[in-house]
Symmetry: C2
Subunit: 341 residues, 2 copies
DNA sequence: CTGAAAGCGCTTACAG
DNA sequence: CTGAAAGCGCTTACAG
């Protein structure tokens, strides 16, 4: 008797296949009586809708893609959660690609996403390497939303934060606490746009405070806890011990704290440390981490909502949403003015 | 001129569409000269392969599904990373569904996965609620691999760990250190099979050591840091302060440590705490966390490899892989024998 | 080594 | 309110 497709259901219900399709998608267009016939047949035959066929017919898959550098970094977890929350109950599914900091892998991923005719793509970071391919996707009719930053390219859709300002504000906060030798453990500011913005914010805040940028106190690295520890050791190996360390993520900050402690420095009495992200654990480590809170969940929700609107052509022009960040004061940074002499 | 499909490429190259398809999938079957003609045409026209159409034709999408309870829990990050590593370079993509601890959402997810005709599904946990649907998927021809546990149902494919033994071993370790009043902060052992196994391991280890199971010292909860803190407060509100706390995840352990500290107890001097998972940060918090290490990345890799083998019918019978775990001793558990009198 | 042809299971105007 | 028909772009035997 072959597979149970819409045609089989139609036969069993004594209607046409078009009607079955209509019952599934626009039941209000079908007479209630006919509708019931179809529902009965579906139930009886155990019919299961085939979205692959539907996607094929529509020439577009009902899948949204998300590209991150690594699934291991907890900063993406909130974003993913928000995206999924927003997709929940819609006909869209989420595929997640992991570029593992490799430009070739990322290109390959974007190529695969293109072949899959995704409805839209959310990208966790723009780099000098992926800009072209993203643009290519967008032109091929796949709407692309960048997160975590406000892109320099004003024609990109983005739902992000002002990394420059967030970093500037945190640096100024450290300065206000009386810190003069401030180190920066950053991500790869040579490649990733948002990291570059944070680096700029840091530099400008120092400059505006009349403080010099000391190259021995700035190090760029990948974002794991171990990387943070290694970076801190590298800084300590220099000829100047900083009075405060601004780490570009909470994971890096935890690594830095560990390195400082193992080197005999107390945090925050000897050296202050702050992070970026405000992850779950930030309030619970010792000392409770002063950091920049970022609305990752909200960002995910809005990015997903945006990409769906774009996919359904419900949106004209660019979407550019800037979400607020703020410095969360906890215990890992000391007020040197007060503590000193 | 219409869309650029295989037919257009075929025309441009002066060959048939079958040949174009062959060049893409089995180039070794085509004369090198013809092959070049096709490659040229592809390049010239900017042809982009349509995997939606291919999936439709094959009556199966080249997508693997992964179901987790929450993307927020860092224990899944390593697993996801391993899965993606293994899928990298194959024709499979990964869709991730988030059941947010809700049985109805999970059922809905599994239903959607069925409609998408996935090649296979990896499930992060079996519960009393999802067992039936998973079985339904499997019978519908969608191979399903369960992770994080060895299922009681011997006909399930699984790549997991022995939760009973891992938990038994850790509990015995605490007993050997001289602890007698041992509390357990567990996950939802009323629902999740692997959590139940851990609970059993804990109970049996106490019994085998001649220690009573004290109900005031056992609490089940959801797995965030905050939940761990709340659970610890609940235990402390009872009439007995435990000498050691076994938390079912490192996140829960961090919450417990925070609660103990805020209640005036020193860890590990007054109360020992251990976790489960061995996340990135475990060695770097204070005190460095004693925990059970779980090969999440390896589990992801093997689960993905298994589901692909199953999807391609390269595997007969059940796949049941049990990966090793081990107690990682660090600084958060005190040897009471030595420290005491 | 290459081509002609059937068919995968839907959706979508269009006609009635 | 319902049905007939075309078509989405591939893959896969099969024939030559």
């Amino acid at each position: 008797m072959g597979r149970i497709d819409m045609h089989a259901v139609a036969s069993a219900a004594g209607v046409s296949q078009s009607t079955v399709s209509r019952v599934l998608h626009r039941p209000e267009l079908v007479r209630p009586q006919t509708r019931e016939l179809v529902y009965d047949a579906i139930e009886r035959l155990g019919y299961e809708y085939n979205s692959v066929a539907a996607d094929f017919n529509r020439q577009k898959s009902s899948i949204i893609g998300l590209i991150v550098f690594t699934a291991r970094s907890s900063i993406h977890a909130d974003l993913i959660d928000g995206v999924q929350e927003e997709l929940q109950g819609t006909r869209y599914s989420l595929v997640i690609g992991n570029s593992r900091y490799d430009a070739a892998t990322e290109r390959e991923l974007i190529r695969l996403f293109g072949q899959r005719r995704l409805s839209g793509v959310i990208v966790a970071e723009t780099t000098d390497e992926n800009r072209d391919e993203l643009w290519h996707l967008e032109r091929a009719g796949v709407p692309t939303v960048v997160t975590w930053e406000m892109t320099e390219d004003k024609s990109c859709h983005c739902v992000g934060i002002d990394n420059y300002k967030a970093s500037y504000d945190m640096t100024q906060y450290l300065v206000r606490l009386g810190h003069r030798g401030i180190a920066l453990i950053a991500g790869r500011y040579d490649r990733i746009e948002r990291v570059r913005h944070r680096y700029q914010g840091f530099c400008d805040a120092l400059r505006d405070s009349g403080l010099p940028l000391e190259s021995g106190l700035v190090v760029g690295t990948t974002p794991s806890v171990v990387d943070g520890r290694d970076a801190m050791y590298r800084i300590l190996a220099g000829n100047k011990v900083p009075s405060a360390v601004f780490a570009a993520s909470d994971a890096l900050a935890m690594g830095a704290i560990s390195a400082l402690r193992d080197s005999g420095y107390s945090v925050p009495d000897d050296v202050s440390v702050c992070g970026f992200d405000d992850i779950d654990m930030a309030p619970f480590i010792t000392p409770a981490l002063t950091t920049v809170s970022v609305p990752g969940y909200e960002m995910g929700k809005q990015a997903a909502a945006s990409v769906m609107r774009l996919a359904e052509s419900k949106q004209e022009g660019e979407i550019r949403v800037c979400l607020p960040t703020r410095v969360v004061e906890r215990d890992s940074c000391q007020d040197v003015n007060r503590a000193g002499c």
